[in-house]
């Protein structure tokens, strides 16, 4: 199982999303999970496709093609750029 975390305002958009997903070790990536989310949660997937959205796996910022393994915690972080 991979645990999903939607930080900040993404949490509002992901209210209906199951927070754990089953997938084959090393085959899933944050990008693949975003594409999978797009099939049922379009407004969330649209926000996740904004520029400067970050993904972290086990509290480490990674690239969208990072392979995911059982027990990983995948967090999506919305862009924060204002000042």
């Amino acid at each position: 199982m991979i645990d999903l975390l939607f930080f900040g305002r993404l949490g509002d958009l992901a209210a209906e999303v199951d927070r754990s997903v089953t997938c084959v070790d090393g085959r899933a990536t944050p990008l693949a999970i975003r594409e999978w989310l797009a099939t049922e949660h379009q407004s969330l997937a649209k926000e996740l496709s904004e520029p400067q959205v970050l993904v972290s796996v086990n509290k480490m910022i990674v690239k969208w093609d990072q392979p995911l393994f059982d027990g990983d915690e995948l967090a999506f972080l919305p862009p924060v750029t204002g000042g």
């Binding site: 930080f7 900040g8 305002r9 949490g11 904004e50 520029p51 400067q52 959205v53 970050l54 972290s56 509290k59 480490m60 910022i61 967090a75 972080l77 919305p78 862009p79 924060v80 750029t81 204002g82 000042g83």
Partner: protein
Amino acid sequence: MPLNDDDFMRYSRHLLMGDIGELGQQRLSDARVLIVGLGGLGCPVALYLVAAGVGQIGLCDPDRVDKTNLQRQVLYRTDDCGSLKVGCAKQALEALNPGVTISAFARPIDKEILADGYHLVVDCTDNLAARQIINDACYAQRIPFVSAAAVGWEGQLVAFDFGRFRSLCFNCIIDHNSAEPMMNCANSGVVGPVLGIMGSMQATTVIRLLLGYFKQHGEMTRYDGKRGQWLSMHCSRNQQCPTCGAASV
């Protein structure tokens, strides 16, 4: 300059602390810090650093005070609307602490301002282009870079101690070719005290860096004020980073 009698009174709450004390206060007083952006983050950063006695402070912002700023930009008064932010800020900050030398630059950040011998730069801007210029200049000059941002209920902090660490920079985390996201403070709003929290974290980080207590090079902290949650994450160097990657050396 050594501390005088007035300084001993003014900074007594620092001097009481064993890990700041007279030596630490002297370090703050000898420091030269540039604050880029005098909006919701820059206001608390400037207030706290000036109050703390950071000896020389540069302020950089091309904008004028607007009524819509007053909900969160705590340096300005209603009468300041229409005046340059750096001018109003300089006046308010000098009234707070006349012992601090303040320079004002009423123009967008550029390489010339960044090359003026600062020991540290605080990024309180609202756009990637400015962050990029500051990141590159700080990396090249081996000086620390303390960056924050906020929108809505959320804030982000990340700091780099380029004097000690040559691997990993802002450019590694947010690619310099990225477009700006749709959501910004002007079109989506921002909660004033969230900027206060992030600005206070920046000011604390500056003081830690100046005193030698900072160890979280390139660690990112996120705050969600609506749900009261914090999240800290590590980042890693992008080998292809044009600023600090293998190709740049």
